[in-house]
């Protein structure tokens, strides 16, 4: 039971990180029906930016909480800028072309970003200094839930609530939902769909950046390649929950996190990355629309 609880909690922490990345996938997919393959790379870039800016500020003698805050801010700003630029460069010119074109373009972007980081920074794993505070009140239960995991959980929950409220109740959220439903109609009633799409990429990338900083602090290391696996897993989570659905993405992420944790604990740790793929294949065979997804009829 003890062992189970530990695995369950670490799975929960893992799941909440996947959720941060999966939200971006699901939002972009909901609006432009594109698997943004480069999303994982944006998350990696967020991690790297935080490492660089954080290192710069820390060595200049700034106080740790401020370093943490500013490095997360920098990660968010730069990742959002990357998301925005990627959409303009690689997806917008292909918006009215066959869907596979955009997917191929996304793979291209993913390769470019990985290799830019590889060539300009390093191919080695770098250890990632954590600026996250050690929470005193968690000391008694540290065996089960450490402060990093706790912070990750709380952050994800907060972001999710804010995001849901924004989409439900603000003007901007309404425009987003309208664009997701029908781009042409939305345009006709005066929604600036280019702006909405850009905004979606910006929000998604910003969330990925937060996820990047958190998971790198949790794992304690970073590498140019981390975005790929994390991106695929977050995608699996989004599909599992029903792509396009925000609560679905979060639910899917938790299920994936738990499966991975319990799988590595009870079955075999050799196949840690394979569980996600097996789940993906099963869900696509059994219920391609995902747990909370709506059944999409094929229109002629």
């Amino acid at each position: 039971m003890d062992f189970f609880l530990k695995l369950f909690l670490s799975g929960t922490a893992k799941g909440s990180i996947y959720a941060l990345i999966a939200l971006g996938y699901t939002m972009v997919y909901g609006i432009v029906q594109l698997i943004n393959f480069a999303h994982g790379e944006v998350y990696m870039i967020g991690g790297f930016t935080a490492l660089i800016i954080g290192g710069l500020l820390f060595s200049s003698g700034m106080a740790v909480p401020l370093v943490l805050l500013l490095s997360i801010l920098a990660a968010v700003v730069f990742s959002a800028a990357f998301g925005f630029t990627i959409e303009k460069l690689a997806y917008k010119p292909l918006r009215n072309k066959p869907r596979l074109s955009a997917l191929i373009s996304a793979i291209g972007i993913s390769m470019i970003l990985q290799n830019v980081v590889l060539l300009a920074q390093t191919e080695k794993y770098l250890s990632f200094p954590s600026y996250l505070p050690e929470l005193e009140f968690l000391r008694p239960v540290r065996e089960y839930l450490n402060s990093t995991q706790f912070i990750i959980l709380v952050t994800t929950a907060a972001i999710m609530v804010i995001l849901t409220l924004t989409i439900k109740f603000t003007r901007m959220g309404k425009a987003m939902r309208a664009t997701a439903q029908d781009k042409h109609m939305a345009q006709l009633v005066g929604v600036d769909i280019n702006g909405v799409i850009s905004l979606t990429f910006i929000i998604g990338s910003a969330l990925a950046a937060v996820g990047g900083v958190l998971i790198c602090s949790y794992m304690g290391q970073i590498n140019y390649y981390i975005g790929f696996v994390a991106g695929i897993k977050a995608f699996v989570a989004a599909v599992l929950g029903g792509i396009g659905s925000i609560p679905g993405a979060v639910l899917g992420s938790f299920i994936l996190g738990w499966t991975e944790s319990l799988g590595t604990g009870y079955l075999s740790s050799d196949y840690e990355d394979a569980y996600a793929f097996v789940i993906l294949i099963l869900i696509l065979i059994l219920k391609p629309d995902g747990i909370l997804g709506k059944n999409q009829k094929q229109k002629v």
């Binding site: 074109s101 390769m111 830019v116 250890s127 050799d270 696509l284």
Partner: protein, 429 residues
């Protein structure tokens, strides 16, 4: 008007240069290194002007190209110097003596290649030819069937491991019986093709209901699972260390020295490429091929016309996988050593790039794309580390500006000339 446009483009490019200088600043100008838990940052200011100038120039070219692309609209790429050149080449090739002599020269070049250039270049060429086979196979799936397969390397692995495992488990028996283990190559070749095709059919079963991007992701998952299984079942497959000392193909019982062996494998590869081209060419115009193309264009319309989509997808995946299996055996024979690292997702993506850059659905495209992608980095060594970066950029440029690829397919056009006249006279052709 035109000048105003130019001025506007210049101004926008200036803004974009500033934007990219900001965007790439942390990644390109700053360099991080971590020692003792603390991150140290070094500035490389000398790079900043370069980034700005490059961004300015590229943005300017990009905007011009986009305008050109939009002005061109949906018109087929009939104009332009390259298209004119290929059209001229085509019409020249239609003349029989010219076609014959071109074919003869090409054959002669292919035939003397290993003798004229030596073992090093021959080996590079073999690798390139293996990719040609892979690209031609994937072209059936992506180009004809329109199904994006990102797990193609799995079938490549099935082929290579068929030969590797045959050698590992049947090899000792062969040697003990006094039979040349090189025979295993010739046994493995058809076996691997069939096995890979079976795998392809198996994979296609769960994905029959899926389309487009879901299909791409599930094939990716499949590919990664195959690689992980190969990596983690060490007892059977040798795990991460793989299988080594795989014998070279049998050649009249002779143990060829490396150089001759390379030449020999080169000829086998050439023969297999020729076979692949021949078969794919036949498929293209067959009933199956036309059904595949119909499926690519519109699944619903295709089904409504009575084409069996389930069977179609099964056939597509099997046919594509078959050639990957063949290429895998060739790879095992050439390198005499295989491990799971040769079959990563990037392998699948490289083959996909060869198909896309060359021209989706086009046989010359698949060949040209594969040769380009595999030969260029070998002969431009200084650029080798930028290889994936350049491929990525090339892929995006092609998909945006020249979706037909560098060597587009010459699609068959059926034109209707003249209606049958009232008195039942036959229509003129």
């Amino acid at each position: 008007m035109e000048r105003n446009k130019l001025f506007r483009d210049l101004r926008t490019s200036l803004i974009i240069a500033a934007w990219f200088s900001f965007l790439l600043f942390p990644l390109l100008v700053m360099k991080v290194s971590v020692t003792g838990g603390a991150a140290l940052v070094r500035f490389r200011w000398e790079r900043l002007p370069g980034i700005a100038v490059a961004a300015f120039a590229l943005s300017f070219a990009w905007r011009r190209a986009l305008e050109w692309n939009e002005a061109r609209g949906d018109k087929p790429s009939g104009a332009g110097p390259i298209a004119a050149l290929t059209a001229r080449a085509r019409s020249a090739l239609a003349v029989k003596p010219i076609r014959l002599s071109v074919t003869l020269v090409l054959l002669a070049v292919v035939a003397v290649y290993p003798f004229a250039l030596g073992m090093y270049h021959t080996n590079i060429m073999i690798t390139a030819l293996i990719y040609v086979i892979l690209a031609l196979g994937l072209n059936i799936v992506v180009g004809l069937g329109g199904l994006l397969n990102l797990g193609y390397a799995a079938f490549f692995a099935v082929g290579a491991y068929t030969y590797g495992l045959l050698w590992k488990y049947a090899g000792p028996a062969f040697v003990a019986a006094g039979v040349d283990p090189g025979w295993l190559f010739w046994i493995a070749l058809p076996t691997a093709g069939v096995l890979a095709a079976v795998f392809g059919a198996l994979l296609s079963l769960p994905v029959l209901r899926l389309r487009g991007d879901y299909l791409a992701i599930i094939t990716l998952a499949f590919g990664e699972i195959v690689r992980m299984v190969l990596q983690n079942s060490g007892a059977v497959t040798g795990g991460a260390t793989g299988i080594s000392l795989i014998p070279r193909p049998w050649f009249f019982g002779l143990r060829l020295p490396p150089r001759q062996a390379a030449t020999y494998i080169y000829y086998i590869a050439v023969a297999l490429v020729a076979l692949t081209v021949f078969v794919v060419r036949r498929i293209e115009d067959s009933r199956v091929g036309r059904a595949l193309e119909a499926m690519r264009e519109d699944e619903i319309a295709c089904e409504a016309m009575g084409v069996d989509l389930v069977r179609n997808k099964l056939v597509t995946f099997s046919l594509g996988a078959f050639w990957a299996g063949i290429a895998g055996v060739l790879l095992a024979a050439q390198t005499t050593y295989i491990n799971p690292d040769s079959f990563t997702l990037w392998e699948s993506i490289t083959v996909l790039m060869a198909v896309v850059i060359g021209g989706t659905g086009s046989i010359p495209g698949a060949i040209g794309g594969a040769l380009l992608l595999k030969l260029l980095p070998e002969y431009f060594r200084p650029l080798a580390q930028y290889r994936m970066l350049i491929y990525g950029i090339a892929m995006i440029l092609v998909i945006i500006f020249k979706p037909d690829g560098l060597f587009p397919r010459n699609r068959k056009k059926y034109t209707f000339e003249g209606a049958p006249s009232v008195d039942g006279q036959e229509a003129r052709r």
